[in-house]
Symmetry: C2
Amino acid sequence: MKIKSALEFSHQLLSESIVAGDTVIDCTTGNGHDTLFLANLVGKNGTVYGFDIQAEAVNNTKALLKKNHVETDHIYLYNISHAKVDEVLPDETMISGAIFNLGYLPGGNKTIVTYPETTIAAIKGCLSHLCHNGVVIVVAYYGHPGGEREKNTVLEFGSQLDQKRYSVLKYSFLNQKHFPPILMAIQRID
Amino acid sequence: MKIKSALEFSHQLLSESIVAGDTVIDCTTGNGHDTLFLANLVGKNGTVYGFDIQAEAVNNTKALLKKNHVETDHIYLYNISHAKVDEVLPDETMISGAIFNLGYLPGGNKTIVTYPETTIAAIKGCLSHLCHNGVVIVVAYYGHPGGEREKNTVLEFGSQLDQKRYSVLKYSFLNQKHFPPILMAIQRID
């Protein structure tokens, strides 16, 4: 066994938390890998919401879903900021999982990145719809300009959450150079 | 699913790394729970070495093994410091796992604790016998006087390990008061 990378561990936590029929959110669809992963977890009776500020990302996600023959009538992709997650989701909708991959679009324009303020707004939006035992997972790539500040803002936000309502895990590698991604997982426990 | 505590996650990593017939080490036998756990993983064809500076801990461990009807002819318990692990193990012996629970003996004398210098010596001893993909896991309880320094010394040691030889994971909870234990896992990757 190899100890799982932050990305692999994010998938483990999602797999353990999400069951067929659930509603979930990919807050940074990127090239669509997590949207596809979530679509397979919730199945055709579940619902996936996906957000990305870049049209290229949304198009790449649609193409990946099509290539994998995934039915998309229950997958809603939005080319808007994930900060609007709470505006888009119906008030009564509860989610069992949400995933963020912070940084820039792999293979895309490296100057277009996620930002702390909108990321925190998006995390808050997800938390307001999170069901008992549901998880909001943030995988932060932070080697780019501003990435360190964003990572620290997210970790500080997690550190301040009420321990009676949320359990906040940090999963990180200590001895790797070149900014390996870190994972933060927020689980609702009340 | 509940996100695993540091203790539960240590057991997950050990379970994934150790198979029947392996040789493993409990560097702080305490009340014997991890020794028992390791004994069950390696089975009667495996070997468990256990260390504890307190005779009370070694006796508690023996009692727990007996209570659980574990054959003990392949379990070697030493009432000596874990700093001597490298002296005790035969040179050619390779281990697939080792576990440390740093702090004081639960239910015992709270003034008798593990110390950074001997802990680091013990970790080094384990690393010198660690096989490919083997793991050395440290669960640090650090709410007692000196505990914070010990935890930081251990994390600093892990941070300095060569990333070509070892992968060093930190697993910790960010929003809990009262010093929840943190986990550090060192996996040999070369």
